[in-house]
């Protein structure tokens, strides 16, 4: 007799890996073969998984079509089965999976779009926090500005692509009719996602501003971040960029040491 543990491991392997032979002897026939019964559970798994994946990646589904999305989803499931009781988490490795699938193909923009969609999902459930009150910033002596470090709001994400992913995302929203055409050679999109009270907003940033914010989000000092941003655009306007970020509520705190 199998122990409870052995039974559960065997059943899980059968359902995920598609082979019913090892578990079938442990299931009653009752007028329907054990294998057909296991198939019901495998079908439930596939439907639930694909539904959850489609909820997280509606634009990818729109771009590749429902049939191919299901095909991709099934392959994704075999490589990245769910690791948690909360199905929300299954989307985390999807962009990386698509990167492996579509590297060096004409569809290499798909993983970047998936990254944008996952960032969107993360923003939706990230913690609430009060945005930075900028008043104390004005009293920082000029010689100390370079040492400042910023805490970025938990409901912010940064996604950058050599493809126009934000424009692709926009024209594939439900309120669009799907007839707009995006030329992949239109160039890069550097996207800041920020959740406000109700919704996630997408902001397309200039390359230098994006670089600055990415450095700051990795705990670089303002001085170091500025240097990297200026390497991207020599005429980079730091004051205007910071003002914009503060207005968007991108920061929650600033540290002077």
């Amino acid at each position: 007799m199998l122990s409870l543990r052995e039974l559960q491991l065997s059943f899980t392997t059968a359902v995920l890996d598609g082979s019913n032979a090892a578990i079938s002897p442990w299931i009653r026939d009752e007028g329907l073969s054990p294998s057909a019964r296991v198939n019901i559970y495998r079908n439930n798994l596939h439907e639930g998984f694909l539904k959850a994946l489609a909820l997280g990646f509606p634009v990818i589904q729109c771009l590749v079509g429902e049939d191919y999305f299901r095909q991709l989803g099934r392959l994704f499931l075999t490589e990245h089965p769910s690791r948690a009781g909360n199905l929300h988490h299954i989307g985390s490795p999807f962009a990386g999976f698509l990167r492996d699938q579509f590297a060096a193909t004409p569809y290499s923009y798909l993983p970047d779009v998936a990254e944008l969609e996952w960032a969107y999902q993360e923003c939706l459930i990230a913690a609430d926090a009060l945005p930075l009150d900028p008043t104390p910033l004005q009293s920082v002596p000029p010689e100390r500005l370079a040492d400042l470090r910023f805490d970025v709001h938990p409901a912010c994400r940064l996604v950058s692509s050599e493809f126009p992913i934000m424009r692709i995302w926009r024209v594939n929203q439900e309120d669009r009719d799907g007839t707009e055409i995006i030329d992949l050679r239109q160039g890069a999109d550097h996207v800041l996602l920020r959740r406000n009270d109700d919704a996630v907003e997408l902001h397309r940033l200039p390359a230098a501003a994006f670089t600055l914010l990415r450095s700051l989000s990795r705990r670089a000092t303002l001085g170091d971040a500025l240097e990297i941003a200026q390497a991207v655009a020599s005429d980079f306007d730091l004051a205007q960029t910071l003002r914009h970020f503060v207005e968007l509520g991108v920061f929650t705190a600033v540290h002077t040491t």
Partner: protein, 298 residues
């Protein structure tokens, strides 16, 4: 304290939210599609039940709107992802999230399923049947106790629909869940549709099931729709929660009311979600069944 203490609505919900269902009215399962409409129309249902995992968020609009809704309705938290019957270790992160929800929403009940969904760290995210053995019973009793200790409250455990039975089972499902309630102190969330579905799939009398359940342990009843599928030459009923409650399930519900008295009843509908008024009408139908049973008793 987490960052959610910044949210003033978390406190007001606790201060003003309703703690118990209104009168004798049935509740309905609340899904995101109906969030705004519930707030605008405030339909006359007894209470609302959500899937706990849908609100495992640090913050954001979904949680906020549920806090708003909580000010007007009693709420129950119904988990689908704890994998209570699994032999993998209990997921402490999952339990922490659940504890946070309980703190913020003060639910009238917290429930999970008599099932498992993972092994070796891989999740099937389904409500999988257990073998009904003494070994499994001892395991479930220990798990339910551990969960109740962590959450510092009693939980309700719900019977699931099943499409297979393991040949190692030495107990019936009804004796198993009755023993679990007795030994762990948990309550039972009796899903009348699931009893009917499993009874048809496995060929037992659903009344035998009802009659084996201790009267005092049933704290909530679920009603839902199911589908009849043909697999080979056999009919298999699948618990889809995607349609109205079937007539035989209403009949079984009447039998359940006679045995367990007036237990809070919930209409579940998770797939092909209909307009809100259809759900409200199903709940009203359950109320009528309760009234009719009372009239007969009186």
């Amino acid at each position: 304290m987490g960052t959610d203490s910044l949210n003033p609505r978390a406190l007001s919900a606790q201060a003003r939210g309703r703690a118990a269902p209104a009168g004798s009215q049935a509740g309905i399962g609340l899904r995101a599609q109906h969030h705004r409409e519930i707030l605008q129309r405030r339909p006359p249902v007894g209470w609302l039940e959500v899937h706990s995992e849908n609100y495992f968020a640090q913050g954001g609009p979904q949680r906020d709107i549920l806090l708003d809704i909580r000010e007007h309705y009693a709420l129950s938290l119904h988990g689908v992802g704890l994998s209570l019957g699994s032999t993998d270790p209990l997921d402490r992160t999952h339990l922490r999230e659940l504890s946070r929800l309980i703190r913020d929403f003060e639910p009238m009940s917290v429930s999970e399923h008599l099932s498992w969904s993972s092994a070796g760290g891989r999740f099937l995210n389904d409500l999988l049947p257990l073998p009904y053995t003494e070994e499994a019973l001892a395991h479930l009793v220990a798990r339910v106790r551990a969960v109740q200790e962590t959450l510092t409250r009693r939980i309700l455990v719900e019977n699931v629909s099943s499409y297979l039975q393991f040949n190692s089972s030495t107990l019936t499902e009804w004796d198993f869940i009755a023993a679990l309630a007795r030994e762990s102190g948990c309550g039972i969330l009796l899903d009348v549709n699931n009893i009917y579905v499993s009874a048809m799939n496995h060929g037992f009398d659903p009344h035998t099931y009802l009659n084996a359940i201790p009267r005092e342990s049933v704290q909530e009843i679920h009603l839902a729709g199911h589908t009849v599928n043909r697999v080979g030459s056999r009919e298999i009923r699948i618990d889809t929660h995607g349609s109205q409650v079937s007539e035989p399930v209403w009949a079984l519900y009447r039998a359940a009311l006679r045995r367990f008295g007036h237990v809070p009843t919930l209409i579940e509908w998770d797939t092909d979600i209909p307009p809100l008024e259809v759900l409200v009408a199903e709940a009203a139908k359950a109320d009528l069944v309760v009234e009719a049973c009372r009239a007969v008793a009186a």
